[in-house]
């Protein structure tokens, strides 16, 4: 039971949670999209504010304890996540080949993301930040493989938070801007809308549907199906393809920037 003995840490967490949930979800419209602030964001900021750089209520011991078990706290969320996917499985099984194959587009991001991240000077953060679109399952995966208290964890948490706060507005804008190019059929774009979270899919597919009212039903259905599919395969694609690809590319590109092979990764704490 020693791990629960730091009652001060857990009491503080409880207070943070209650305050965050009392503030509740705040959304405001910006242009065509919506910025969404969720209780989890306030919880994160309040947690940070209590550490030595801020109010100094949480000490080094508390921070160590907390970062040591974040990975375990993610498990319940993952169980809930699986239960969101399960009821949609019958529809997913009927998906067309195009819907299934476009899921591999998730890997496209690695080819652009890793070089950029290394060029910008990120080190092992690159792995967490670019291996996938960083939704809940990917955060849990990085936590499981590397631990969330290292560089990889910082990378995946960073992209996760950015996606949570600005994801819907970013996706809504992206859908309309890319549509202007007239390179893609609305059906292809509709499937692309589903690559991230459900709210990203809803926002971007909504924009597309309003641009093509005659195809509204197909657009919304394709985006929803693609989103369900991403929820199912995102984690496994990362385990078997995304993460190995990212590691490989990182090792290849790191010497180009630093002139020396990538150092071995930080040990999982």
């Amino acid at each position: 039971m020693f791990i629960l003995k730091n009652w001060k840490l857990h009491a503080v967490a409880l207070v943070i949670i209650i305050i965050s949930e009392l503030i509740g979800l705040i959304r405001f419209n910006v242009g065509p999209g919506t910025v969404i602030l969720l209780p989890m964001l306030y919880a994160l900021l309040l947690g940070i504010a209590l550490t030595p750089k801020g109010l100094n209520i949480m000490k080094a011991k508390d921070m160590d304890d907390a970062s040591g078990f974040i990975t375990v706290t993610l498990m319940l969320l993952m169980a809930r996540y699986g239960t969101l996917v399960g009821p949609t499985l019958p529809q997913i099984i009927q998906s067309s080949p195009a819907l299934i194959l476009q899921e591999f587009g998730n890997l496209g991001t690695i080819l652009v993301g890793v070089p950029l991240a290394i060029w910008l000077g990120l080190k092992r953060e690159t792995i967490g930040a670019t291996h996938s679109i960083a939704r809940e399952a990917n955060v849990a995966l990085i936590g499981d493989v590397y631990g969330l208290n290292g560089a990889e964890g910082r990378g995946v948490m960073g992209v996760y938070i950015v996606g949570t706060v600005f994801g819907t507005i970013f996706f809504a804008l992206m859908a309309s801007f890319i549509d202007v190019l007239k390179v893609f059929h609305p059906y292809s774009l509709a499937m692309a809308c589903g690559v991230g979270s459900a709210s990203m899919a809803t926002a971007s597919a909504g924009v597309l549907a309003s641009l093509y009212p005659a195809m509204k039903d197909q657009i919304l259905a394709l985006a929803a199906a693609s989103n369900m599919l991403s929820g199912l395969d995102g984690l496994y694609m990362s385990i078997w393809m995304g993460l190995p690809m990212t590691e490989w590319l990182y090792k290849k590109l790191y010497p180009l920037k630093y002139g020396a092979p990538a150092p071995a990764r930080e040990a999982k704490e």
Partner: protein, 148 residues
């Protein structure tokens, strides 16, 4: 981490989530307990499977699959379990995690601030790359199949 420590932390997270679920989403604690117990069982089964099954898959891989299977419409009792689990709001589960994550991040605050702006740029490119990658494949396949 020992199995029992995982059990304790899972139970602690469950209690904190029940509070968040009550305060933020008005789901009563007693009403939400059956669904929460199912989620706890899924987690612990997943952890055990990751330890004893061949293939060295991370426990999240098992946890998601078990969650999927037991809520698949044809699974015995799926409908009842779904109804219980629905009482546990997805977002309520995220708040405790991020509370601890915030406290834990304090330790690496300097590293976070140093890499923060870079990660924001990378995030935008990751979203863009995934979206366009998926659109390209969809376009090619749909054209090859003559569907557009």
């Amino acid at each position: 981490m020992t199995f029992f420590n995982i059990v304790y932390i899972t139970l602690l997270t469950a209690v904190l989530t029940l509070v968040a679920n009550l305060v933020g989403y008005k789901n009563g604690i007693v009403d939400s307990i059956p669904g929460m117990l199912i989620l706890i069982a899924i987690c612990l089964l997943g952890v055990l499977m990751a330890r004893f099954m061949p293939g060295k898959l991370p426990s999240v891989a098992y946890i998601v699959i078990i969650g999927c299977v037991i809520t698949y419409p044809d699974f015995p009792g799926a409908k009842i379990m779904n109804a219980y689990i629905a009482k546990v709001n997805f977002l309520a589960l995220t708040t405790p995690i991020l509370a601890y994550a915030g406290i834990g991040i304090g330790k690496d605050m300097d590293a976070f601030l140093k890499s923060g702006w870079r990660i924001i740029i990378v995030a935008c490119v990751v979203f863009f790359g995934t979206f366009v990658g998926s659109a390209i494949i969809a376009e090619v396949v749909l054209r090859m199949m003559g569907q557009i």
